[in-house]
């Protein structure tokens, strides 16, 4: 033991037991601090939750409106690097199409295919309705309008008319490496492109889908024309 040890211990006051009111005071201060700490924790968690909500909302907005500087929707991820992004970059040439309808995302399609066409994806909540040798029609679940000649409110895939020349007006896009054009007409978004097997394809998306060029191109890249399809005449 050093000289300092001895000196410190010789001058140390006795360790007196605390009075009950002192212990009560310690307990009360501890409880108050615990309540305050929990309150601060709740506030922090609340603030974190609010920030998270804002971030989620911002991401959702960007996903819904990729032409406003965001990225394409998950369902349209396949077309990353395709012409659709160029449409977004150039303002879409009037082919934004979303209007006031909420954008309906694409989901993988696992149901039965119809003659003439196969599709990899359909809008969420939509189903294959009917097909002919030159048209495939897709309608919302529950729709009873299976008229193959009625395209109103339907997502339609049409083989191009034999007397149609070129791709028509609209913004330039690329579908599976093939050139295409997107434009709107009467509130309907129309994509025209040439399928690799030589078919000219028109896809019409009603405004109720809330789609833009990215979505219609993504959908088109999952459309395959089979040998049963023929060129339409009109």
């Amino acid at each position: 033991m050093s000289d300092i040890n001895a000196l410190l211990k010789s001058v140390a006051p006795g360790a007196e037991p605390p009075r009950p009111e002192v212990v009560d005071g310690d307990l009360a201060r501890g409880r108050a601090a615990l309540v305050a700490a929990r309150r601060r924790g709740r506030v922090r968690r609340g603030a974190l939750g609010a920030v998270s909500l804002v971030v989620v909302a911002a991401v959702a907005v960007l996903l819904i409106h990729p032409t406003h500087g965001g990225r394409a929707a998950p369902g349209a991820a396949r077309q990353s690097g395709s012409g659709a992004e160029r449409v977004a970059g150039t303002g879409g040439g009037g082919a934004g199409g979303a209007g006031t309808h909420a954008r309906i995302q694409l989901v993988d399609y696992t149901g039965a295919q119809l003659a003439g066409f196969t599709v990899d994806q359909v809008p969420a909540g939509w189903q294959l309705s009917t097909s002919t040798s030159y048209a495939l029609l897709i309608t919302p679940d529950g729709s009873t309008n299976n008229d193959p000649a009625d395209f109103e409110g339907k997502l339609a895939v049409l083989t191009s008319s034999t007397d149609q020349h070129g791709l028509g007006p609209g913004a330039r896009v690329t579908v599976d490496g093939q050139p295409g054009r997107v434009h709107t007409s009467g509130g309907v978004l129309i994509l025209s492109y040439n399928a690799p097997n030589g078919f000219g394809i028109d896809i019409q998306a009603p405004s109720t889908l809330g789609w833009g060029a990215a979505q219609i191109v993504a959908f088109a890249e999952g459309v395959h024309v089979t040998a049963n399809a023929v060129h339409s005449h009109g």
Binding site: D3, L7, A15, R29, L34
Partner: protein, 193 residues
């Protein structure tokens, strides 16, 4: 694996358990904490009381996370944190340290108050150095235990303690409580230097 609940699940019961255990700890250990705090505060009992209260508040909040066998060590660390935090506070920064203590009327200079001299000498040490000396030479903690309490390396504890002892000896020699530090054999605690 089956989950075993060995704690009361009722919130009220949990709080009661915490309160009972905390009260028992305060009743048995507050005196020791206060004694240590008086040294850390260099004899200022009011400051020591503040340190103990602050430490016990921290201990109560952290109580469920503190292992039963480590409550003493945790409380000590809370005390040291309170000391260091107090020195960083705006109030403490407004205080001014003076090399020479003011003259005190009525002080019996013939019989130097040993306790006051020791506290005065401790008060001249920086807080962390003072804490190292107190932990090592009053509480007899090992170098490693002191390093853990101060959250520093063992080497830092050794150097701080050695310098603190040198300064203490010099101050106390002036008060004739220790021999001339040049003549008194420095006998640092085991592990210092």
């Amino acid at each position: 694996m089956r989950r075993v609940f060995n704690q009361p699940t009722d919130v009220g019961a949990k709080r009661e358990t915490r309160d009972e255990a905390f009260r028992a700890f305060v009743e048995s250990r507050r005196g020791d904490l206060m004694r240590t705090a008086i040294f850390l505060a260099a004899g200022d009992r009011w400051a020591a009381e503040d340190l103990v209260q602050t430490a016990l508040v921290s201990l109560y909040v952290a109580w469920p996370r503190v292992r039963p066998d480590a409550v003493d060590a945790y409380a000590r660390r809370c005390l040291l944190n309170a000391l260091i935090d107090h020195r960083r506070s705006a109030f403490a920064r407004r205080e001014r340290a003076h090399a020479e203590l003011p003259e005190l009327d009525g002080l019996d200079t013939d019989g130097i108050d040993m306790q006051s001299s020791v506290f005065r000498a401790l008060g001249r040490l920086p807080p962390r150095m003072r804490a190292a000396v107190v932990l090592r030479h009053l509480l007899d903690l090992s170098v490693d235990e002191t390093a853990a309490a101060l959250r520093c390396s063992s080497g830092t504890v050794k150097s701080q303690t050695a310098r603190g002892l040198d300064q203490l000896r010099a101050a106390l020699a002036n008060d004739q409580l220790l021999g001339d530090p040049g003549r008194v054999s420095p006998t640092p605690a085991r592990g210092d230097r």
